[in-house]
Symmetry: C2
Subunit: 248 residues, 2 copies
């Protein structure tokens, strides 16, 4: 079995893909499903997310489709018109039973779309569900597991490289893999840059979030394998232009 | 001063850029200039390189401009019509006095073009000239040194990350820098993946070159700071569509 780590999304995935954007999209995605959300819709743009929720009403005023809640960010800040930011702490404090959360974020939702272009099985992985995500990937993969780091604004991010290393360690403990350069770099980062909280807090994006007053989210994202929920791309996509993930 | 490492070319460089493609373009570039080449022209395509050397003659047969020699590769293999592959061992065994070498390679020449779009000072760095390249960059930079790894086929490569770590170590010994995520990853790779030959030989592209019978080139590229030649982008570009580098 091959283990491939892309430190930035590249494409060309033929088998099972773990998409990683731990600060904060994939961590928050796990939290929404943990808290009862029926599904997640990852859209390619904020406009597409708004169009899913709001429809023109008879008097011209938009009518809200109550099934949908919108969560997302740009540069760490909330998107106008959205119901939530992209905070796992906020998500973990609410109940989403029966609702679908529509997500759009700076990096993670784009990486998921790249993965879905060719991947057979696409899963969202964070530190919070790392062990479960690795086990699920191992169970589904036939020839290759690709861990795809979203990065930050098209540059490699330390926190995603670190998380890829954690996932790679779990996978290597489950069987034999041939590893590529990206996997070796991720494992080296994981093994030498301290514990998860040290790595995440010192990353460029971790520092940025802390300055925005979102340090609690960074601490939340640094918890390892507390959840067994693995957001899994549904085979049947019911909404055009959006990827549907359900708890797996 | 800021130290930025891009593990893949990104763009948006405002000051001094060190372009790294140690297996093998930047290592070979240093060797050409070491062996007397007047300059290097890095073209964006093989066709552009061929058009520089060969001009239509009076009888329709191409006439060769003897000032130019063509060196390059695709996937490690020579390009049809070129005079050389992209081998530092081959380059170091010849004399290029008075000649200009026109280079086109899979990854490195593209990265140099990205760097040149906005960089004020663009230098080519390898392990073989690492100390000199770091010193030169430090002397020229005002606010930022960006180390740009070429990678392999748009994916992060271990050998370039390792070389970026070597350059970063030299720079950190020369003064204070704020470092980004990429620099921390590169330094971690440098400090934990063995000596240069171990790192390069075990990289995906190092293994590939060895299989092609080019293991000597990998060993050559692993030598540290033996040359003080730093290929430097000339301020006046005399040939359209090609970047001119001279010994600095």
């Amino acid at each position: 079995m091959k283990l491939r780590v892309d430190l930035l999304p590249h494409g060309g995935y033929s088998d099972t893909v773990l998409v990683v954007d731990i600060l904060r999209a994939t961590t928050t995605a796990v939290a929404y499903l943990e808290r009862g959300a029926e599904g997640l819709l990852l859209t390619a743009s904020p406009e597409r997310a708004l169009a899913l929720r709001d429809h023109p009403g008879p008097d011209g005023e938009p009518v809200r489709d109550e099934r949908y809640l919108l969560g997302g960010e740009r540069g760490g800040l909330p998107i106008p018109g959205f119901d939530f930011g992209n905070s796992p702490v906020e998500a973990s404090g609410r109940n989403f039973t029966g609702r679908t959360v529509v997500m759009n974020t700076t990096n993670g939702t784009g990486a998921a779309h790249v993965a879905a272009q060719s991947g057979k099985h696409v899963l969202l992985a964070a530190l919070t569900n790392a062990h479960a995500a690795a086990r699920r990937a191992r169970a589904r993969a036939v020839e290759e597991i690709a861990i795809v780091c979203s990065g930050t604004d098209e540059r490699v991010s330390l926190e995603d490289a670190y998380a890829a290393g954690v996932l790679a360690e779990y996978l290597l403990a489950m069987g034999d893999f041939t590893v590529d350069d990206g996997a070796r770099i991720a494992l080296t980062v994981r093994r030498n840059l301290g514990n998860p909280l040290e790595a995440l807090s010192s990353s460029g994006h971790g520092v940025h979030l802390d300055r925005l007053g979102l340090g609690e989210d960074v601490r939340y994202a640094a918890r390892i394998s507390e959840s067994t929920v693995v957001p899994t791309l549904a085979e049947l996509q019911d909404v055009e232009g959006a990827l549907r993930f359900v708890a797996g």
